[in-house]
């Protein structure tokens, strides 16, 4: 991947091809062996994947462009995993990229809640209020997620924001949608990330020690009526993806040593940890407050700094998570290294549609 940030003077083709070049070089896989590419982006225009690969003269191979909002990167990896695990291809290239517009992400035409003023931060704010009311979580517990992730991001040379911040700074930043303040919302960030997925036979040729994908699951939002079903669509989509992934890996949440989860907003990380089974239901806020999810804690979550600190170029985030976890499993993360990490979990979730909630979710489990 490239360092995430703001690149007003660079084309997406330029910085995304840099990310692809870096991944290919790191993998040591001969580019000639790549027979399929999957590119994730949300608003980079038609055939953006092909436009990026043209920069590297990687032309002619089937290239699939994936749009799944914030879960696009994980969906692209899942697509490549199906191609390779299914035996159709030996080597696949996965990359995600986004050059973001400043400000709010505009809601989809055709969705009444967005038309009535419900923004993405408002969606998470409503989830936060409902969570706080139900479990007695505090505004400070939510804000601690941002403090923790910025502390980690300060150790990540790939992060957009590499500065720490105090609890008071997070809480006193301007409100975006109550109770979420500006520093509890992911920033506007450009970036790209890439990984190479190969068969076991080809993996033996890899230069860096490869990691294994032991589970890959994608789910879509399903209708849930929280009052009747006991769970909201937004929580259910992750619960189902996680259940699939744990079953595929023959693992349980307690087996995970490190996780990168969808923290576009602070409450998102808390709910993701609970929906993934990484901490008990209702205790996500307490776990953040007590440092259980910090590097060195019981289950380090977002050691990269997460979307809050690394930044969130929509289509790139899911791939950047997997780049980070690959480096974590390879023991290459320096000061932010999670000691003894042998099992890693990546989680992204995105989109918002009344009735089905979040549109897409991807969960991957990687091992050494």
């Amino acid at each position: 991947m490239i360092r995430f940030g703001r690149y007003p003077d660079r084309l997406v083709e330029q910085f995304a091809s840099d990310a692809v070049r870096a991944a290919l070089a790191d993998s040591g896989i001969d580019p000639e062996l790549i027979t399929i590419a999957v590119a994730s982006h949300s608003s980079q225009g038609r055939v953006a994947g092909q436009r990026v690969l043209k920069e590297l003269a990687l032309t002619g191979i089937p290239t699939i462009n994936v749009e799944n909002a914030c879960a696009g990167g994980g969906t692209a990896l899942h697509t490549a995993w199906m191609a390779v695990a299914g035996g159709f291809h030996d080597a696949a290239l996965v990359f995600g990229m986004e050059k973001m517009e400043k400000g709010l992400i505009v809601g989809n035409p055709g969705e009444y809640e967005a038309a009535m003023g419900k923004t993405l931060p408002a969606k998470y704010a409503l989830r936060a209020r409902s969570y706080m009311q139900h479990y007695g979580a505090t505004a400070a517990q939510l804000a601690m997620v941002s403090v923790k992730n910025h502390r980690a991001g300060a150790l990540n040379p790939m992060a957009h924001y590499q500065n720490t911040m105090t609890l008071d700074e997070v809480l006193s930043s301007r409100p975006v949608a109550e109770p979420l303040t500006l520093l509890q919302c992911c920033p506007t960030t450009d970036g790209a990330a890439a990984v190479v997925v190969v068969s076991e036979a080809l993996a033996r040729q890899a230069r860096s020690r490869p990691v294994r994908i032991v589970a890959s699951a994608v789910t879509s939002g399903a209708y849930r009526n929280a009052g009747r079903d006991g769970i909201s669509s937004d929580d259910d989509i992750t619960v189902r993806a996680a259940a699939k992934a744990y079953e595929m890996a023959a693992m349980k949440p307690a087996d995970v040593h490190v996780a990168e989860v969808h923290d576009a907003f602070t409450i998102g990380e808390i709910l993701a940890c609970e929906n993934l089974g990484l901490c008990p239901r209702g205790e996500g806020g307490i776990w953040a407050e007590h440092g259980n999810t910090a590097i060195g804690g019981r289950i380090p979550v977002n050691p990269s700094g997460g979307l809050l600190s690394r930044g969130h170029p929509l289509g790139a985030s899911g791939v950047a998570q997997v780049a980070e976890l690959t480096w974590q499993l390879q023991g290459r993360c320096g000061e932010r290294q999670v000691q003894g990490a042998r099992v890693a979990l990546a989680h992204v979730v995105g989109g918002s549609t009344p009735g089905i909630g979040s549109g897409a979710c991807a969960v991957h489990i990687l091992t050494t």
């Binding site: 009535m116 003023g117 923004t119 704010a125 409503l126 975006v176 949608a177 109550e178 009526n225 009052g227």
Partner: protein, 146 residues
Amino acid sequence: MSAAPQSQKPPTPMEPRIGKWEIINGRVELSASRCLSCGETFFPSRKVCLRCRGETMEQVRLKGPARLKNFTVIHQVPAGFTKPLVAGYAEFEPGVSVFAPIDAPSTELTSGSTLLDVHIGPIRTDKNGDSLIAYKFRPFRDADRG
């Protein structure tokens, strides 16, 4: 209190995607659909049930008072909206909730107990600065019903 926008032109209703409403005896009723197979109710109304895929729906009307389920105050608002925007979900019957702006300061609202009524008022302005109207919520007062 009438929330009609101050404009010479008649106010423009918002696009149909936000759902339909009718004013009956001075009171706003939202048009929803109920699945005859499983009983699930949807607003805006739809043709295929999201729960059971049933395609036989009956039209039902949702009217206040509805109970405030959850709300937020949005400070970074979409184009055309005035900030801060108080908005949230009102539950009209068990399991049937609608999202809309709320004409009340957040200090007057309590999730789970405040009763809300539906009225028609300005939601946002369009590109020309003209006001677009639709359903929204305000605290329910028995006196309003007279």
